[in-house]
Symmetry: C5
Subunit: 325 residues, 5 copies
């Protein structure tokens, strides 16, 4: 059984809740596969309409149809969107993305700042009143931006408050701003990963140099994983790319770099529903389990079924908890 | 009977209130016809005095005289103005516009920010103490402005707090600022619509390219409606234009684009009272009901009466509610 | 008896207080003559020392000596100053000016912002603990300034909170800033008046084009009065000018433009005490009552006494109130 | 016996406390001699080490050794410093300087803002828990700075809150910033004095044109004293200067300008302990009492002892109070 | 026995706690040896990977392994990191670094501001709920930065709140920003030290001119120690340098300048574990005890064991406390 480090910011009476959320979100694998769904703000409608994008992608419902059927860990999106569509997949574990910004202002013109939309108090209240299975929160920090200091205040607040309630905290950590020369520089990404663990993040969502898809890159990326320490690194999926090539990268991250999962959006949702589900399952195969790239690709092709783990039952978690305390 | 998606941000004990407000505001049609009345701040006195504007328009009372007689869904304006004049039409459903700015500063000079005037706590208190029929709130967001981040914080707060009280939330969503090249670009408007649904808005008031009054435009505008998903799109009415041409556009929005209502100001209130009422009824005819443009134009001409729906009675709503829970 | 529109923001249990404050401030005339006394901050010592200014004007006590003896409606000044000198005229109705700024920074260099000094909570507490006859609050908004948005938030807050306590709210509404070409443009002033009523102001203190002292100007100024609607317009008095000419302007405002009173400072207080009192009484004559300019000028000259109304007694107000509810 | 104007912002139940603090701080003379000790932040180490400065000045303890022995009214400094050293002179009346800034940034480069360090709530709590004899608070406002508006909000808050607790409020009032051409202009200083009384300050610490040490200057300075009205003017002491010349200026301020005390730092503390004490006593002689400059200079020289007033005993104050209410 | 000045900001009922924290942190020596561990944010990954850095340094766990074994006073780091790793050394006294920033933005481009991550309320709650041995807090102020004013507000708040709970407050005090010509200028550093004592800091962490490693420098540095007064000066350790040279500097600071301890990071943690522990013990030898540089160097070499003091037992502290009250 994996070892889970419960941070001291989780009070004793919330440790069981934290472990439950951890087990649910990672399906007992210790790795997090986040289906990332905050693009409607971050990228406006660019990801949802245009050539090569299936018509059904245009409807926000598409996210939730996928989340319902695919073998994901959590679906991460804005509270308002989840509130509108959660009836489609009420049992899916949700992660509330607490901040977002649009991409209209060019980063060369003005340093980015993504302001908190709602406070953890609201998230907690929403979780309680809605009865939805909200297991964590996410927040984007742009280190190197002139607004970094404001972000740090909000991020530290959110992580701390999440832990106080036994919820998982995920930091999207992106170096960005006029002072940042190369957003994909691995040494810089490692710096960001180090910041995330100092913020107390459980997971850190971070850029990966997909433009250099070599084994060497995956090895170099170990610096990021090392710097993050007990914060698990989950690379972003980025723009849609050829399936096998993408699966290979995820495989390398998991088996070579030592990442703790992955966060994928466009590579999943820009496809028709059934294809999207198969792609998600293939990603689960290489990121959560020990499938080879070839096997995972067969899952994508529909030639093979994923034999993944069900989410642990509440009773299974309870028996696990009885061991832990 | 239409299907209403009650967002999860509305607590169980407020669902009946939310449905009531929805039914009242949409007159049971599921579509919102907002008589928009925030121009005294947004446009200063430009809309109220000058050539081609009836003298009675100069008096703020004119808004409320129209609201009393016309077949509108809600009248939307600033809390202070409503507080001063609601005795004229105390039973009209009001929507409180929570922010406003003047048009003195050119948008080319400085990115726009419309600051919240009062918080939802105040609106709730005002509703309770005044006994007025306040069914919702509105808030303007300028995406692409350098102040976008501040707006997002205020907007998310207002939508969430409105839903907590069972009130409707309408977002005025305008791309604007130095980084915005074309405020009327449909793909960009679709992006804004997507942002609105992520904020949890029930309705999103959005620009419409009236300068391109073709069927093709109405078809292209479907991208906006799709992106908004369960947030209903209500296009702005914009500057006064020839009646029939205007009614045709509203018709197209409703029947071709699939919008969820309309928000009209100047095309109604810049006329003498009776003409304004007839114009409002004609707009209701094409936006809420299945009237043809010709029939609606006859309503405007006074040659025909609108046969619209009365607002549902409280008992009718109650019986409806009994079905829903 | 005049008709008073009590705004819905005044709770039922405070309506009697609001009417009392209204009656007291307007001396039962429905018009407000404010003796404006915030110049020690707004103009520093420019108005209080120099050629043509009586030596006794240098002492802040002068304000209060005048307020005690003259036929004014209210004396408006900063809370701190009133707290220091109210023993001189403890029964005078006071209006607390909630914000102020100095004139050191040139408006061409930097857009103006006048920050709130204290919150309404403080004003309410001060009123209760001091026992002073505080009937209202005032706040300056500079529309067109880049800080307009911040001002709107503070102004809306103050008006709302004042009404919650049954107090009168007066907005000083000045277009100013680099984007404002002509601060005295009547159409723009009308815009500002419209903003004031949307804020819920009971009175709006506004610039008047004294440099164009024609009847035509007074007629054009009707646009301002119309735009303000149920917010009563009280023009500023501006810099000291020849008495008869000044009285004529006030007369025109009252009888031609339809204003709801006047707010005068320098034209009163820059004189020796007795002359100041006579000037104030003359202003009352033309602004509150039906005196002709010639009669009023005789009052200034000391050749005639003002036969104005005493402030209504509390019992008179009570009987009035009994009619209203 | 002097007449004390208790501001209306002091609640009835705190009037005795206010009078006590007033009597203690002014030693029953009605004038305030503040030993000013905020230079370690305002001037960094420039005042404490260098040629012509006694070695013992380097130790912050020096301030407190002087405060213990010299005939001062109050010692004004930052809360943190007082908290560290008050055991040296626990009975000295302290005034908490609530804001401070360093002098590193040139005022020509950036307009000054001195941010509040702690709120009055903290000062009150500190006073209660520490048992120290804290009689008032101080706050610096830079009028003419672009940050003036923020300062006004903080200053008004602090004065009001101080009075609510019966404490004295002293405003350091300095015109400064790019818009200020001459910081020592008497007319401008008078403007600042007027602002202070509008803020409700009990004392206003203000620049004095020591570079023009003529009787004429002292006469001109009467404009400042007049503008301040019931706020007592206490000129700053400024940089160290020849003793007799300095005493003459203080004498002129007191006897010609009509100031209400003085605030001296460097002219006292940059000397060895005993000399510093003698200088302070000499300053007391000309600012609080009717000593001539020659007599005061003898005190400085140690040729004469100051025959000043002891601080009034609590019982003396009580009997005084019994007269006042 | 050393004399401890308990600041008046520590309430009576917390004095025992303050003394306990002081004794624990200084190991009863009165001097503080802080093992500084905030570099993962301040320097990103630069200190943790690269030539000359042991591979195990890459793992954040390395900090805590050293803290467990070395003869340090406290380990200072961000709350989030401590929460993740404190199980490794749960009994080590921790100091929470309350703010941090990255080094991405060049200080020549933009003045630095390090924003508070969490408030003292959170630190207190964390201490109580976690049961960790948290003895103090730290905060960085950049004097001379244009954001200095904001920092002062946060710093004063944190020091005051820490003392209210009997915790130690350490200020990192760095002159920095475009207005600062020489960050290592001793007179300027002395100014910063003076600011720290005015903030009420117990210890001030401050730059030391290691580039001028002469006895003369250590003597000049006395100005800093004098200016800090009862705030103890703990120089930073800075970048890694030859061991003996470094130990000599620490020795000089302690024995010549009169500092109150030292704060070292890179000179310790950039080594393999056992070497790091030996280096830390050597630093303890010259900074807390009377070891010569040669003896200390032998400790580093493993040729000698440090004979330092155990942390005082709770009972020893109690008996000490019984003497103090």
């Amino acid at each position: 059984m994996q070892k889970i480090h419960i941070p001291y910011t989780v009070p004793k009476e919330k440790r069981a809740t934290y472990l439950r959320n951890w087990e649910i979100a990672t399906r007992g694998t210790g790795k997090l596969f986040m289906f990332a769904g905050d693009q409607k703000v971050e990228h406006l409608n660019d990801d949802f309409a245009g050539s090569g994008i299936a018509p059904e992608v245009a409807d926000p419902k598409h996210y939730f149809d996928i989340a319902k059927k695919a073998h994901i860990g959590v679906f991460g999106s804005q509270l308002g969107l989840i509130a509108k569509y959660a009836d489609i997949c009420p049992n899916v574990p949700f992660l509330i993305k607490a901040n977002s910004k649009t991409n209209i202002i060019n980063k060369a013109e003005r340093d980015p700042f993504s302001n908190r939309w709602l406070a953890m108090d609201d998230v907690i209240e929403f979780k309680k009143k809605s009865g939805l299975n909200i297991v964590g929160v996410g927040y984007t920090v742009y280190i190197g931006s002139q607004f970094e200091s404001e972000s740090f205040g909000q991020a530290a607040r959110i992580v701390y408050d999440a832990h106080q309630e036994g919820m998982l905290a995920v930091i999207w950590m992106y170096p960005r701003g006029k002072a940042v020369k190369d957003e994909g520089d691995i040494h810089l990404l490692a710096g960001g990963a180090g910041v995330a663990v100092c913020l107390g993040a459980d997971f850190v969502k971070i850029n990966y140099p997909y433009d250099k898809p070599t084994l060497e890159t995956a090895k170099k990326f170990r610096e990021v994983v090392a710097a993050a320490g007990r914060s698990q690194v989950i690379p972003i999926g980025g723009a849609k790319m050829p399936e096998k090539k993408f699966l290979q990268q995820i495989y390398n991250q998991n088996h070579v770099s030592g990442t703790g999962g992955v966060a994928v959006g466009r590579n999943i949702f820009q496809r028709p529903l059934e294809e999207a589900v198969r792609m998600a399952d293939a990603i689960a195969a290489v990121s959560l389990y020990d499938y080879s790239v070839d096997e995972a690709f067969k899952i994508f092709q529909g030639k093979k079924k994923l034999d993944g783990k069900s989410r642990p039952s509440e009773s299974a978690i309870k028996s696990f908890l009885s061991l832990s305390f």
